[in-house]
Symmetry: C2
Subunit: 97 residues, 2 copies
Amino acid sequence: MYGIIGKMIAVSGKRNDLISILLEGTKNMPGCISYIIAEDATEDDALWITEVWETQEHHTQSLSLPTVQQAIANGKPLIAGFGERYETSPVGGQGIS
Amino acid sequence: MYGIIGKMIAVSGKRNDLISILLEGTKNMPGCISYIIAEDATEDDALWITEVWETQEHHTQSLSLPTVQQAIANGKPLIAGFGERYETSPVGGQGIS
């Protein structure tokens, strides 16, 4: 499996709008095992996306899906920047096994 | 919901053993929605645990479960240290909704 843990910073006050766009645009992605969006508990404009994919190729291919392309286009103006990003190899646990 | 993204560093060469202990000891925890263990893709001894709980109290209470207590006791000698830790409020996405 292939995983990404990534932090995104929304334009001030736009985190909820950005999350709605991301949730809507990331349904039904082939090869996606888990895709969880979370608000950072202490930073008002920060959010985390934790992803688990069958393979890295599934993640790469997801970026070409029309729904994801649309989410990227709609979300881009609401993104102020990106924070930490970690790549992983998920091995098990509740929610993926 | 309450979430934690945390990095753990195993004693050199002991990551697989530590992961096995964690996987075994964290099954069937009340209020646990997702608990994914992943190897860091670039650091040989590092692993990530991403957790989603119904409430923060469920997480706190899980630390008293006999299975978790046993995992902590067994895993402790294999842990060299802890890395980044982020607390979150998960809001949705595949794997939790």
